[in-house]
Symmetry: C2
DNA sequence: TATTATTGTATATTTTTTATACAATAATTT
DNA sequence: AAATTATTGTATAAAAAATATACAATAATA
């Protein structure tokens, strides 16, 4: 594998992805831990090939980390401060891993490439957490789902990026009908409500919520879901395509 | 003045600005015409210096064309298709202006720089049209306000960029209280309504509109405005800072 | 067959939005 | 100086939407 500086990338432009999943009534974010000493977490990121749309680049980055395709994706903001550089992080990383990293010419070239000022395009993705098998890349020590309220300390401005992504998701929830992308193919009305509650961080009155969702006219009702519980079985729904 | 390729710009990244003004009940966009044969119109654009925030770059571009500072500015979208290049436009321009343009080495370097694939960050601005004295740069034959409904045919995807800017402005009109930036320091309630009507392309019931605006609690009422007309004088309002 | 937990549907209440009526005012006309 | 006119400001009525509450339906268990 070629080093980034030798690839045919657009320089000083990166893509950062906030991958949202949903599990146990909580909104989760998929975050890799970097495979070096020093406890560094960073959002799934990457660069844009010369002959690649930025949307394609984001899809590629997501595919590499989640193993799935056709992900719901939304560009939400550009982070472009002049001070936005990997240098402080990289220097810290090198200090922690001085033994492993031999500083030869090639490494110097990589260092120069990485520590330039970067303009980052933020994307957020909504995935069905059950379909995702998180994929460790060469750079990852681990890759885990973290609750949105218990995120690890991340490098650079990556925490800000997550916050901005969440704000966008929350405010677009009624104009874009996208929350269903966090659920499996079929789901009950209660599950939909719990997803909305996790995203909006508030509760809804069950009956009114159901009416509101059904009036969107985007769901089709399927057969009932018999669980063996001592109560009425709920209907299953599916998002109309 | 140095040529762009020799400046300390981030390469392959540009900023395109949609500058909105308001005049005679119409939303206007400030658009320069390029100073070459062939009728080319292009949005006010520019590039980002290495040591410059992208927001600063947008402010600089706006200042250069409008002569005013402290402009209301909002980043709204990135345009990043791989096919997004100036090449078709430049080739056409060269064909029209073959006599003027001598193709020497330096020009070739500029050509190569300009015809690369560019990722463009779209900003829109709201200005008080009375404060703006449109500034022609070296590249401009003219710079004029065009009604949003009578825009000239523009190069590249600049028409799409305007459309996206308008859509964003419309949809953010109630969440961001920004339409006042299109008006002078003081204004009547009727003028506010007409601005909203121009942006939203629909009419409002006067009494309800006024109530809605006043309930935002962002205006302070000043003295009345006596015009000499045979009717009751309206109050003037000012945006609270 | 009664009980229990939970879902689905109907309806009442409250709030917000939209529509309408009318009073107040400043300059003009008579 | 009083009536007229055009326009603004305020109040209120009607309609629609959002929210709260009540209760019927159902599937498994006791």
């Amino acid at each position: 594998m070629k080093n980034p500086s030798q690839q045919n990338y657009i320089s000083q432009v990166s893509i950062d992805c906030v991958i949202f999943g949903y599990y146990e009534r909580q909104l989760k974010v998929l975050i890799p831990k970097i495979n070096f000493k020093g406890d560094f977490w960073a959002l799934p990121s990457g660069f844009v090939y010369q002959d690649e749309d930025i949307d394609q680049a984001a899809e590629r980055i997501l595919r590499d980390r989640t193993g799935i395709q056709d992900i719901y994706l939304e560009q939400f903001r550009v982070f472009g401060k002049a001070s936005r550089t990997n240098k402080p992080f990289l220097d810290e990383l090198i200090a922690f891993n001085f033994d492993k990293l031999n500083v030869k010419n090639e490494a110097q070239q990589e260092y120069d490439w990485f520590t330039k000022r970067f303009i980052s395009i933020g994307y957020y993705a909504l995935v069905d957490i059950n379909k995702v098998v998180p994929q460790k890349t060469d750079l990852d020590e681990s890759i885990e789902w973290y609750s949105i309220h218990e995120l690890p300390r991340m490098i650079m401005d990556h925490s800000d990026i997550v916050n901005e992504a969440l704000k966008t998701l929350q405010s677009h929830l009624d104009e874009k009908i996208n929350a269903f992308n966090l659920l499996p193919e079929t789901f009950t009305m209660k599950e939909v409500q719990e997803v909305y509650e996790a995203i909006c961080e508030k509760t809804f009155v069950r009956t009114n919520f159901q009416k509101m969702i059904l009036e969107l006219n985007v769901l089709e009702r399927l057969e009932k879901k018999f669980t063996g519980a001592a109560n009425k079985a709920p209907y299953l729904y599916r998002f109309k395509k």
